[in-house]
């Protein structure tokens, strides 16, 4: 069964605004993420965010994956398997 996704286009924003926006969305959906009921996708063109967002996400015990397509980074956040 595919988990519903929620995508946020943060392109054009600079860090730390990107990080704060991402953290806000993650905070709002913390329990859904932990229970693997939702996957959040953040699109950004800010390279610094590809480091700061995953670091914060991992510290929260969530899984994070960064994929680059053209000039956009796709940061996927979801709950851990365990």
């Amino acid at each position: 069964m595919n988990t519903p996704t929620c995508e946020f286009d943060l392109r054009g924003q600079v860090c730390p605004s990107t990080l704060l926006t991402a953290l806000r969305e993650i905070n709002l959906r913390q329990s859904e993420l932990k229970e693997r009921r939702i996957v959040l996708i953040f699109l950004t063109d800010n390279r610094h965010a590809t480091v700061t967002v995953p670091q914060a996400v991992i510290n929260m015990g969530l899984h994070c994956e960064v994929v680059k397509t053209d000039n956009t980074y796709q940061i996927t956040v979801e709950g851990n398997n365990d």
């Binding site: 993650i26 913390q30 670091q55």
Partner: protein, 551 residues
């Protein structure tokens, strides 16, 4: 017309408040690891509406919750590892690169630290090997030097034997070796058991070889089968006796022999009976070349329902069984031979005791009694002779120069008188003087002529032909009787053997020809027989000649 809204400049107090908020937000962002807020990108109003302190605080709350969870997991994992370490039968300790012990299980104290020195913080060489400078085998040093798993077998420490394994632990980030786990398994009992096992194996192999040698060297046939009758082991003698190739091992007795062979049925009977020993005689071959084998069957002890089997010892008893049969026949024949003359003696003597008879009739009866008594005497003499031959006694021959004609005159007339159906013809080139015991040779001639008469029931000519030279005389007695087969001829000198045993009308004990051969050989002569069934028999023997004149 409305006038444009001019942003109100913050008061100095508000400015200080914004500045404070920005500095705290930057401090929090720095903690998270990102850049400080740029006032050009986020004005005061946006700053307040975004609520970065709230966001970061909420994030910290989740990070702390996760850390707490992780900490709980780590505590549980630590407890689990501790329990596992203490449950392991081996001593396990963790040391830093200097050899200082940072962790260890109960077995470390049990094996190496009975005095109860503080384990954590001590150096491993102080606890385990007690060699400060150069321990005999330092697994730690080898792991540090090679940075790979180090295994040492049979390391002796404190009088016990250990298997020691050292494994390096590396830092995840910089991959540096941080600790070494050293495991000590006490293998003293295992080594001792292995030695005992090796010794037992050697003893077993020696015993096996010894049994194999005895098995091969045994003159008796020996055979080992499983409970299905499958041959597991067989020596040469068994293969020869059973007339099967040695390669028959692996086949079952059922496959090798037909239903007439009683060996496997006897084994099955023994297995079913619960007894441990059994025996049976079996026949191998056809009537012409039959051999009789005496078998002794023993059951192998069973350690499991599937194990066990039989050990079969085989011995060729063809000759023994034949002799037993012949002896049995002899007893029957001898009884008959005794009874016939005794019946006549008793009958005629009773007649004479009960009634008066004229003198000529009395003479006739007494002659009959005398003849039958002589016959009995002859029979008893034969038995005594054979008894002496059996005992290996030498005959005390009274050799005197004796004319052959004299010997023939003492024997032929008696047969000629009693058997009118036969004609006796003698062919003597001259009358040789023999160097013999006359009584013994008369016994020889009576036996040979007696057989010639008995085995020519239809009558015919019995020729006695004498040839010879200055040293020996050859005497041949030919008859025209029923003759014998080659097998019968081959066995004619055997004790108790009667060629025509089935021919019940012909009497005899089966001892005569055995005595004849012995007497002839005692004189230094030889005896041979040639015969054809339905044609007749020729008994030919030699005797020594002397130049002296007869008495």
């Amino acid at each position: 017309m409305t006038s444009p809204v001019i942003p109100q400049q913050p008061s100095p107090v508000e400015e200080r408040a914004y500045h404070y908020i920005r500095s705290k937000v930057d401090q929090l962002l720095d903690t998270i690891g990102t850049l400080p807020l740029n006032p050009d990108e986020l004005d005061n109003e946006a700053l307040i509406s975004l609520d970065p302190i709230g966001i970061v605080s909420e994030s910290f709350k989740h990070i702390l919750a996760h850390l707490e969870e992780t900490n709980q997991r780590l505590t549980l994992a630590h407890d689990e590892i501790h329990a596992i370490l203490n449950a392991v039968g081996a001593a396990i300790m963790v040391v830093d690169p200097t050899g200082r012990i940072v962790a260890g299980n109960n077995k470390v104290n049990e094996f190496f630290n009975p005095g109860g020195l503080p384990l954590i913080g001590s150096f491993c060489h102080e606890i385990v090997c007690h060699e400060k400078d150069s321990p005999p085998v330092c697994v730690l040093q080898n792991v540090l030097a090679n940075d790979q798993v180090e295994q040492r077998n049979e390391v002796t420490l404190n009088g016990r034997c250990y298997e020691v394994i050292g494994t390096a632990i590396h830092d995840h980030k910089n991959k540096q070796l941080t600790h070494v786990i050293i495991l000590y398994s006490d293998i003293t009992a295992r080594i001792s058991n292995e030695q005992a096992l090796r010794q037992a194996l050697e003893t077993t192999n020696e015993t096996k070889e010894r049994i194999k040698a005895i098995f091969s060297a045994s003159g008796d046939g020996l055979l080992v089968t499983d409970l299905d009758g499958r041959i597991a082991l067989m020596n040469h003698a068994a293969a020869e006796l059973l007339r099967i190739p040695l390669t028959s091992q692996g086949k079952t007795l059922d496959q090798l022999f037909d239903h007439r062979n009683r060996l496997w049925p006897a084994c099955l009977e023994l297995i079913d009976s619960g007894k441990t020993l059994g025996s049976v005689d079996i026949s191998i071959g056809t009537d012409k070349d039959e051999t009789v084998l005496a078998t002794k069957i023993s059951l192998l002890p069973r350690s499991t329902p599937q194990s066990g089997g039989t050990v079969i010892a085989l011995r060729d008893v063809t000759r023994e069984r034949t002799i037993e049969r012949m002896k049995s026949e002899f007893v029957s024949t001898a009884a008959h031979e005794f009874r016939t003359p005794l019946t006549a003696i008793i009958g005629f003597s009773e007649l004479m005791l009960n009634d008066e008879f004229p003198r000529d009739e009395q003479h006739e009866f007494l002659t009959m009694i005398h003849d039958k008594a002589q016959s009995l005497s002859h029979l008893v003499n034969n038995l005594l002779d054979i008894s002496r031959i059996e005992a290996g006694e030498k005959l005390s021959l009274k050799k005197t120069p004796t004319a052959l004609q004299f010997l023939l005159d003492r024997t032929i007339p008696g047969f000629a008188k009693s058997s009118t159906q036969h004609q006796f013809v003698t062919e003597l080139a001259d009358d040789p003087i023999l160097d013999v015991d006359a009584e013994a040779i008369i016994q020889v001639l009576e036996n040979i002529l007696g057989n010639a008469v008995k085995y020519s029931p239809a009558g015919g000519t019995i020729r006695i032909v004498c040839t010879g030279d200055k040293d020996q005389c050859q005497i041949a007695v030919h008859d025209q009787g029923i003759g014998m087969t080659e097998e019968q001829v081959a066995r004619v000198f055997d004790k108790f053997y009667r060629g025509s045993a089935l021919h019940t009308s012909i009497g005899g004990t089966g001892l005569g020809m055995t005595i004849v051969k012995h007497f002839i050989e005692e004189h230094g002569g030889e005896i041979n027989i040639s015969s054809k069934p339905g044609i007749g028999t020729c008994v030919c023997f030699t005797l020594p000649v002397t130049r002296e004149t007869s008495c």
